[in-house]
């Protein structure tokens, strides 16, 4: 059982099919939800929360059906919506306490957790101010505080860095990392900012036009592509390339001492330096190209036909 299981999930809003046959299992500790605008990210989140009824297929959260067991699921979820969503007339601590009580905490515990959550997100000093007086960054943080206060098993963050300046964004990312490190909360983070997902998630679901374009473990994906290296050398390049072929590397030589090679798993970059040293070849530059999330994303966006190959079900 994964954190989120999708089985042929189709969601129609009006006459439009917004999610079209999503199938896959997400098991990561922090799952990134990527996709261009209108790809269906928010609709998927709303479906997981039980706001939208699937027209076909099903979505399960911790093994519970997103529609039939929505009350149980909502009790286990903390949700930070994308847009402004708060009660401006309440003070910060009262608002978070209210939400914690709605999630099922007794009044006294809810008050204590509200204070804790506000300090945790950095709003401790302004917790008695009315929410309507908060800045945009503070409003983002109080949405996070209310989502955290009741100690959810799954935290759903919809565009958590929306509208934040670079410092506030960095703080939000650090908070998310800290929460992830604590270990008791799984995260589902929706964003169109690759960098946010790159920094916080270990698994990514990429949506395109309501379909899954890619579902992969980011680390594994990087590992499978990490061995591509570009070298600039001075000296007996031909002889050097023959030697490194002997290690099992695929190698191509270019004028000016440039070599491109793909090294197998058992070969380390240190081995290249050793051979170069033995043969009196100078390695002037080594460019170790790692597959970035951007590469994964762009590949997923390009591959209409290769979609199924990227989906781990």
């Amino acid at each position: 059982m994964g954190v989120i299981d999708l089985d042929g999930l189709e969601v129609r809003l009006g006459n439009r099919t917004v999610l079209n046959g999503l199938t896959g299992t997400m098991q990561g500790h922090a799952i990134g939800l990527l996709g261009p605008n209108g790809a269906g990210k928010s609709t998927l989140i709303n479906t997981l929360l039980g706001f939208h009824l699937p027209s076909r297929g099903s979505a399960r959260v911790f093994g519970l059906d997103a529609h039939h067991d929505r009350a149980q699921i909502r009790g286990a979820i903390g949700y930070m919506p994308e847009n402004d969503s708060f009660i401006g007339n309440m003070s910060g601590v009262r608002f978070v306490r209210y939400m914690a009580e709605l999630a099922g905490l007794p009044a006294q515990e809810a008050l204590e957790r509200a204070h804790e959550a506000l300090f945790c997100v950095g709003l401790g000093e302004v917790r008695y101010r009315k929410v309507s007086t908060y800045s945009l960054g503070m409003k983002q943080l109080i949405k996070l505080a209310q989502a955290l206060a009741h100690g959810p098993r799954l935290l759903i963050l919809d565009e958590p860095t929306n509208g934040l300046d670079p410092i506030a964004r960095q703080r939000m990312i650090q908070l998310i990392k800290d929460i992830r490190k604590e270990g008791s909360v799984r995260l589902l983070i929706s964003s169109h900012l690759l960098r946010d997902i790159d920094e916080t998630c270990d698994e990514v679901l990429i949506l395109k036009d309501g379909r899954i374009a890619s579902l992969c473990n980011i680390e594994e994906e990087r590992r499978s592509n990490r061995s591509f290296i570009e070298l600039e050398t001075v000296g007996a390049t031909e002889h050097f390339s023959v030697s490194i072929r002997g290690l099992g590397c695929e190698c191509a030589c270019f004028p000016g001492g440039r070599i491109k090679l793909v090294i197998p798993e058992h070969v380390e970059t240190r081995d290249l330096y050793t051979i170069a040293s033995e043969q009196g070849v100078q390695i002037r530059r080594m460019n170790l190209r790692r597959d970035s999330l951007e590469d994964i994303f762009l590949r997923a966006m390009d591959s209409e036909t290769g979609r199924a190959a990227n989906v781990n079900s």
Binding site: L13, G14, N15, R16, N46, L49, F51, H52, A71, Q72, R74, G75, I77, Y79, P81, N83, D84, S85, F86, I87, G88, N89, Y98, M99, E101, L102, A103, G104, L105, P106, E109, E112, R113, H115, E116, A117, F119, C120, G122, G124, V131, S132, K143, Q146, L148, H150, G151, D178, I179, E182, S184, V185
Partner: protein
């Protein structure tokens, strides 16, 4: 963990039963309603007629007071079903004032700041949300309607030298049911209209208008078409008729304008269904996409 430790920690304590979440909404709604000084002001103003009535009952039942005031005093004041019907009418119209102020406070704050996605992402249904707000408003209106009226009834039973209360229990029942019907109707009407208006003051005006404008339209219809059925749009007329029947008091000046109780009941039920449809359309976590 004390609050000086700023790291996140999981919650491992007990959780309240799901059904009590409605009461959380009701409690917070109630607190929000009474956090306004104007609410307290309307409440105090609404109790003034009760205090006057209490004094009247005292005078009517106190021989010394009657003697002091002479024959022209409240000696002739009969404490009966008609007397309590007047009290019920006054209190119920004051309840309309209170409802028109309180109902928008319960809903418009949530809608104005788009709090519905967060509220409904918790284990609370849309029905539970409306029920919680309904309880808060219903409880607030109870304090100016059936509670003070029944206290007056009990006081009359206590002050009367005759075994008055036992002989007039049906009046107490009528007062209770009549007030309950009215405040339940007002609560659902107030919530429904408030859910469609972002500005509280406008919502207050619309609640008043929803009660009195159809009454005018109904009156015109009845006059033009020479029919009594236009009065089915006249909520004050319908309610006065209903209260009179519940208390066993005839109040009609023109018997040909008498509306059947069943027609009044159907009209109120239809109005409630319309209000529920309005709430169903507005109380959502997400906008409904059509087309």
């Amino acid at each position: 963990m004390s609050i000086h430790k700023h790291d996140y920690r999981a919650y491992t304590g007990k959780v309240t039963p799901v059904w009590t979440r409605v009461l959380v909404l009701a409690r917070y709604g109630y607190a929000e309603a009474w956090s306004s000084k104007i609410t307290v002001g309307i409440f105090v103003f609404s109790l003034l007629p009760c205090i006057v009535t209490l004094f009247g009952i005292y005078l009517a039942n106190n021989p010394m007071a009657r003697a002091l005031l002479g024959n022209g005093g409240p000696r002739g004041l009969a404490i009966d079903a008609r007397f309590f019907l007047s009290v019920l009418q006054v209190q119920c119209w004051l309840a309309l004032v209170l409802a028109s102020w309180v109902a928008p406070r319960l809903i418009t704050y949530d809608l104005a700041d788009n709090a519905m996605p967060i509220l409904l992402s918790h284990p609370i249904s849309r029905f539970g949300y409306v029920l919680g707000k309904f309880i808060a408003l219903f409880a607030s209106l109870s304090f100016v309607t059936w509670i003070p009226i029944l206290i007056l009834f009990v006081y009359e039973g206590y002050a009367s030298p005759l075994p008055w209360a036992g002989a007039n229990l049906s009046v107490a029942g009528g007062l209770f049911v009549g007030a309950l019907i009215w405040i339940a109707f007002l609560s659902i009407l107030g919530l429904a209209l408030s859910s469609w208006v972002k500005w509280r003051i406008v919502a207050t005006g619309i609640i008043f208008a929803a009660v009195f404008v159809p009454a005018g339209v109904g009156g015109i219809m009845s006059a033009v078409l020479r029919t009594k059925w236009g009065f089915l749009l006249n909520i004050p007329y319908m309610m006065t008729t209903l209260w009179g029947r519940l208390l066993g008091v005839s109040i009609l000046v023109h018997p040909d304008r008498s509306l059947p109780t069943s027609a009044i009941a159907v009209m109120l039920i239809l109005a409630c269904f319309l209000c529920l449809a309005m709430l169903n359309a507005r109380i959502r976590a997400r906008e409904v996409v059509r087309g």
